[in-house]
């Protein structure tokens, strides 16, 4: 009994060290965790890849941050982080959950307005929702928010995974990319593009048509001057 109690006391001490950072997730991520919890691993793996390759010591803009589920990982590496989404409810959740002097959340539509220049722009799971005729506007928005030595990280499900997608995904995904097409679009606007694939949470450089998800890292934006 004594030992049991002392272990409890030790654990209470550990708990005190953890502080109190309780978070109530918003609708989007509460839904995901209830319906398909493993998706959290897949999504965070994409953020970790972006954080490790393109955020260390850099100012970061996330285009389409939703509830900011990736903000803590990106913010761990970035000097400052700005999350933007046109969904005001999601931005309100992000602001409530991830308060940090280096983080800022903005409700805006970056296909229509510009909010500054950043060393890195991250955009995951956005481009597949943009109608093909507005696709160029999306890529322009990315480049227009970059400094001359800027980088971009773009992630989207592979077009080859469409037959396996849920009905909701299929309705929302109006512009699916192959690795080849994504790289072509990025090479029009960047000097260098490095393509990766993910299956579940594993990042690799395997045969592109069999990657479930695509992440491409682009650097050297064309036509960005250092004014």
């Amino acid at each position: 009994m004594v030992e049991e109690r002392s272990e409890q006391a030790r654990w209470d001490g550990v708990k005190d060290m953890l502080g109190d950072h309780r978070v109530t997730l918003g609708g989007h991520w509460s839904f995901n965790l209830r319906n398909d919890p493993k998706r959290l691993a897949f999504v965070l793996a994409r953020y970790k890849l972006a954080a490790k390759l393109a955020c260390k010591g850099r100012s970061v803009l996330e285009l389409g941050c939703s509830e900011g589920i990736g903000t803590p990982i990106l913010g761990e590496f970035a000097t400052r982080y700005t999350g933007v989404d046109f969904d005001e409810d999601a931005i309100a959740v992000a602001r409530r959950n991830w308060s940090d002097a280096r983080f800022e959340f903005v409700a805006a539509d970056l296909l229509r307005e510009r909010i500054g220049r950043f060393e890195t722009v991250i955009s995951l799971d956005v481009i597949e929702h943009i109608e093909p005729e507005r696709e160029a506007t999306f890529f322009d928005a990315i480049v227009d928010h970059l400094t001359p030595e800027g980088m971009a990280v773009i992630g989207t499900p592979n077009v080859t995974s469409v037959p396996y997608a849920s009905p909701q995904s299929q309705i929302g995904h109006v512009n699916m990319f192959s690795a080849e097409r994504l790289q072509q679009r990025l090479e029009e606007r960047f000097e260098f593009v490095f393509p990766f694939g993910l299956n579940d949470e594993v990042v690799h450089t395997g045969y592109a048509p069999m990657c479930h998800y695509l992440v491409q890292v682009a650097c050297g934006p064309k036509g960005v001057s250092g004014d």
Binding site: L49, E149, F192, F194, H204, C219, G220
Partner: protein, 222 residues
């Protein structure tokens, strides 16, 4: 076994029989005899580099040894040239892959090749053998061989793994890098530096001090 299946296999065999036999020289032969998994790891690093470089490119592989990785790069990227100062290794490389139109080898000093026209310059397990006082010249030399739109890929064991290395390995390693030092050396020369780690054949972006091997991709010459 039915005769039919035997006949099918004979057809498969026939289709493969005319491939020129590949010879493993002293170095790759040593891997297969003593540390066979090294062949897996080295091939995995070359594949990673090939994927980062992309297709339709001209690649220079410095310290190519017996040229297995050079051939992989030629096959995946379009064209590759291997260079090594070890004449015996180059002879093996030449015998195996020298007949391929998109793959060639030179014995000698890479930095005497001279022109800055390669789309990519790679080296694996080379820089840890370069004396620290020559390391800057080595990196400068790589940069000179590269076109201004070129990509560099360097692979080298992590300094933190030294304690586990064999006596043979440690005897040759005079310039081991930590991730920080490797990244810093490349940042002086390139605008963009991407650091990866590998444990066995798996290339990843995990905590650098625990990576057994370091792979760095750099581009955008300063």
């Amino acid at each position: 076994m039915t005769d039919e299946r035997q006949t099918e296999w004979d057809a498969v065999k026939e289709s493969m029989q005319h491939a020129q036999p590949v010879e493993l020289g002293r170095h790759v032969g040593y891997w297969f005899a003593k540390t066979p998994r090294r062949a897996l790891y080295a091939t995995s690093y070359a594949k990673f580099a090939a994927k980062m470089i992309g297709r339709g490119k001209r690649v220079l592989d410095i310290g190519c040894g017996e040229g297995l990785g050079t051939w992989l790069l030629a096959k995946e990227c379009g064209e590759a040239q291997g260079v090594d100062f070890d004449a015996e290794a180059i002879a093996v490389a030449e015998a195996n892959w020298g007949g391929e139109p998109n793959c060639g080898f030179t014995c000698g000093d890479a930095f005497e090749l001279g022109d800055g026209s390669y789309d990519a310059v790679v080296n694996f397990d080379v820089i840890e053998h370069v004396y620290p006082e020559h390391a800057d010249a080595f990196l400068d030399g790589m940069q000179r061989l590269l076109s201004d739109r070129g990509v560099v890929v360097i692979g080298t064991p992590n300094e933190t793994a030294k304690q586990y290395a064999s006596a043979v390995t440690n005897a040759g390693h005079v310039n081991l890098y930590t991730a920080e030092r490797l990244e810093a050396a490349l940042r002086e020369r390139f605008k963009y530096v991407f650091l990866f780690g590998a444990n066995d054949e798996v290339v990843h972006t995990g905590f650098a001090p625990m990576c057994h091997y370091l792979l760095v991709v750099a581009c955008g010459e300063r």
